[in-house]
């Protein structure tokens, strides 16, 4: 079954084309890295996937639901971690999560149970009552990932989730999300411009200037080259 399907997606800001006929599909439970330099169109793609922008050309399907035709069912199936933090820094970790749970119609014991499970998964349980402002960057990101899991999504979208984090926190978060896709069957779309966050058995889509330049299993695509070189080759050729 397909977790996420994007077909012939194009988008422009006035005369500037941000996405040009992008299409790919990710199997359920797969980890797909969306690799692209800054300005490749990753954030525009995320805005379309989360329906902050309406799709003008092309089609998006999330866990079998067409985003344009059935936006509420599709949105209910995605968890999102935006590039910019969306935590309310003055609220505790728990309150941030319970606010989000309520936006998905969850409250009371059921919400508390899910919050506990999500925080446990990200090793954040003991920080539930700390203020978000008092957490370091890595823990804030983990809180946001935990939050994105509360409503039991089928697809997890992360837009450069490791920006601004140190190497250890970056590694830890990358590992956590790989685990989530492997052990829980979550379909993950992980946007990044850092090639060291992609594993050999990950699915890889390379985006540049709004176009898809490569799509396949990372190890097959790069063959003998290190991924960073392959990435530079592919993107450099069209720069």
């Amino acid at each position: 079954m397909t977790g996420l399907k994007v077909e012939n997606l194009s988008y422009s800001y006035g005369s500037k084309t941000a996405l040009d006929g992008v299409g790919f599909s990710i199997e359920q439970g797969a980890f797909c890295a969306l690799l692209g330099p800054n300005g490749a169109g990753k954030s525009t793609l995320f805005s379309l996937l989360t329906r902050l922008f309406a799709t003008t050309q092309g089609r998006i399907e999330i866990a079998g639901h067409d985003l344009a035709r059935d936006p509420r069912k599709a949105l209910a199936r995605i968890g999102v971690v935006f590039q910019q933090s969306t935590l309310d820094l003055d609220l505790s970790v728990y309150r941030n999560l319970s606010y989000f749970a309520a936006l998905h119609g969850l409250a009371g014991r059921e919400a508390d149970r899910r919050i506990d499970v999500a925080l446990e998964q990200l090793n954040m349980a003991e920080r539930a009552h700390e203020r978000a402002r008092d957490l370091n960057g890595g823990h804030r990101r983990r809180t946001e990932i935990a939050r994105s899991l509360i409503h039991d999504p089928a697809v997890l979208l992360l837009d450069e989730p490791t920006v601004g984090l140190d190497a250890a926190a970056r590694r830890s978060i990358t590992d956590h999300v790989h685990d989530l896709s492997q052990h829980q069957g979550l379909t993950v779309l992980w946007a990044t411009h850092l090639s060291d966050e992609v594993r050999d058995d990950d699915r890889l889509v390379i985006l540049h200037h709004g176009r898809k330049l490569a799509d396949g299993v990372c190890a097959d695509l790069r063959s003998d080259q290190p991924l960073s070189e392959f990435f530079l080759d592919v993107t450099g050729a069209t720069a």
Binding site: S43, L52, F53, A54, R72, D88, Y99, L103, G105
Partner: protein
């Protein structure tokens, strides 16, 4: 409890928590109308003669006249400030979080309006309590009857702020809109002077004041405080509220939307 109500409760609670944390905002919201009431009204009392017009059945002091207008002022400022926080929210990203909820977008935005209106009502009631201590009192049941009027006025003015916030791209621009929207709306209304008084000096200004939805919100509040229903004011406020709400929803429509800009 069903999903929309759970979301409403959470959004109102979040707005309330934010408000409690910002004590400065609460005090400013109270000081502003109190300065008008205690300083401005004292100076104007001698200059302005008021005749007996409904809902008043006897001569009243100027302080009594402007209290409903100041209630409107609190709601107007709070509606705009809440929109300011929406622009801020949007830049901080939590508006994104709100808009990616699977609940209908119109409901999510309405929840925000209900939340900010609830805060406005608390501020107005605090102001009325202080005014009562100062000696300006209304019929006891008037304090209950005014609640729905405050609610409708709050939704209408909040929708105005929401519509504006959807069209403003940067935080800095908002200060300009505050000056170009709040002050004209407040001064070109019946909040500080009755419309017939305005007509004596300029018919055109009178007509503008009479068309200003804020005038009607103030009159609806004024009549409600005396346990009377001013149907034209109620109708005009509801109508403008619906138009502004439609405009706000249009502004936040993803197909057109305010979010459609390069990040």
């Amino acid at each position: 409890m069903n999903a929309p109500l759970i979301a409403l409760r959470a959004i109102v609670l979040r707005e309330a928590l934010r408000f409690v944390r910002q004590r400065g905002r609460f005090i400013a919201a109270l000081v502003r109308p109190l300065v008008w009431l205690i300083v401005f009204a004292a100076g104007f009392r001698a200059a302005l003669g008021l005749s007996i017009t409904p809902p008043y059945q006897t001569y009243i002091t100027y302080e009594i006249y402007i209290v409903p207008g100041l209630c409107g002022m609190i709601i107007l400022f709070n509606g705009m400030q809440s929109s300011l926080s929406l622009v801020y929210d949007r830049e901080m990203g939590s508006m994104r979080l709100l808009l990616t909820s699977p609940l209908p977008r119109w409901w999510l935005l309405l929840c925000r309006l209900i939340a900010s209106t609830s805060i406005s009502i608390l501020q107005v009631l605090s102001f009325l309590a202080i005014a009562a201590l100062y000696g300006i009192r209304f019929p006891a049941m008037g304090y209950v009857a005014v609640l729905p009027a405050l609610f409708i006025a709050g939704i209408m003015l909040g929708a105005l702020g929401l519509a504006l916030s959807s069209m403003i791209k940067q935080l800095e621009n908002f200060a300009g809109v505050m000056n170009f929207v709040i002050f004209p709306m407040f001064f070109l209304s019946s909040a500080l002077y009755p419309l017939w008084k305005m007509a004596e000096s300029s018919e055109i200004l009178h007509d503008i004041c009479a068309a200003n939805p804020f005038t009607h919100a103030v009159e609806m509040i004024r009549f409600a405080l005396y346990l009377q229903l001013n149907l034209p004011a109620l109708g005009w406020t509801c109508l403008s509220g619906l138009v502004l709400l439609a405009l706000a929803l249009w502004g936040y429509d993803p197909a057109r939307g305010m979010l459609r800009r390069k990040n």
